[in-house]
Amino acid sequence: MTAEEWQIVWFTAWVSALSTVIILPFGLALAWALARRDWPGKSIVETFVTLPLVMPPVATGLILLKLFGRRGVIGGFLHNQLNLDVIFTWRAVLLALSVMSMPLLVRAARVAFEEVNPRLEQIARTLGASGLRVFFTITLLLAARGVISGMLLAFARALGEFGATIMVAGNIPGKTSTLSLAIFENVQIGEDTHAYRLLGVSVVLAFTAVWCSEFFLRRKK
């Protein structure tokens, strides 16, 4: 493998891991709210969270492009107030991976939270534990297998993201080029050997992540 290829592998793995860490608090909070609370508009939010799973990734990417471009609602604010550009930078990769992998984490964590017997949480409260303490000492620990499995799935999904990423981040060598973008590009320009080497790496990474995810789900079942 060339230095350039290694850079692509590291960048992809690193941004995927970072996106998983970033969506974790939001994903868990949302999953908990969906599993344990009833609130107006819940079904709408539920649907929105799942949308990126079923919509064409390129379409999701287009929406993000419109929102985060310099003339977009969020992108304009970031550019003017914080002098921060997102589109066609590594931040755009991070954004695309986060949005695309979030549904997997939320769905897995939600199921895991729903499987925790609410009576255990209630009795923990009668023992003097506040809501936050109950969440961290009872709910999260009992749902840990499902949550970890969801994190690994989200990570694996991020590794392979293509459509949304190419819309918002382009494919800039050394800056925003990820494994899938590089594979596509190498095939396009006839560099099949490069493509196959990167293909091998993505298979190994994805296999490991999914296998670990299944391992955590199976454990103690």
Binding site: R119, L120, Q122, I123, R125, T126, L127, G128, A129, T137
Partner: protein, 356 residues
Amino acid sequence: MSLLLKNISLSLADFTLEVDVEMHRHVTAVFGPSGSGKTSLLDLIAGLRAARSAFIQLDDRTLTDTTQKIFVPTYQRGIGYVPQDLALFPHLSVRRNLLYGCKSGGANDPSFRFDHVAEVLEIQPLISRGVTELSGGEKQRVALARALLASPRLLLLDEPLASLDASLKAKIIPYLARVRDEFRIPMLCVTHDRFEALALADEIVVLVDGQVRQTGPVSEVFTRPASAEVARLVAVETLQPGSIMNINEGLATVSVNRVTLTALAPPTASREVFVCIRGEDVVLQHDTVTTSSVRNRLPARVVSLHPEGALVRVELDAGFPLFALVTRAASAELALHDGKAITAFIKAPAVHLVPR
């Protein structure tokens, strides 16, 4: 303690739970058939559910008042709760379960110290185990200890014995009685078992379909049920303190107000018992029979007759107040009237002995 439950109204699936009672005794049993709203009532007191309208006050502290929008969150109520399924945390060891609610720096009340609670409930040998390695009775004791270690001001017990078989029940009742006597903590105990209520409680609240049908001292509710419905539910018309004089071949000889009765020996060693006899187990006859399989034959005098639908509840003086339920026709044939002499027959297995 005083626990006030006022204007409580909570819609449940099949009925509305409506409660308006004051509890002042040490141990109160909430008694009723399954699905009568007993657990929902405990959840309201613990603050795990919110009712449309409720006023709940424990001693001088208002916990819930819907008119004033007061709702003390569960974790600040200081109410221990042992639910029917015990809810031991499966991912924590027995020790960490026990310490979960332990106040750091020790409890205000030294009687809730870890060592003391562990000693009273005999859980020292269990501490290093995992929760899944405990037997049913051990789980029960750990759940009780865990609730006590949080130094509660009131202990709620939901069907503490329902999941245990008869021999385990007999083993757990003394522990519950010890908790009651040792910690002097007020307890509210939900049960549908009349003997459990009798063994533990001073006061009883009868709850049917979400409505309170009767409240009062246990002995009073059991001997003078306010309605035929409550009578059917408690089904113990005669309740008298007695003491076991001797036990021979599984049969106990009990003295009740100097009258001797034969009963099946109870599983516990306690000598002081309540003697319980259901009205329909008492047969009235003019004493012409010379030998009979019936062990208890008591000469009695009719004190009063209370018609209850197709039946007549006959209050007798057999050396102690004894109640019999007979049909109207039987009452007429026997020509029962106040002051009439008659013999009451009770089979030994119909005389239930409950430790007191």
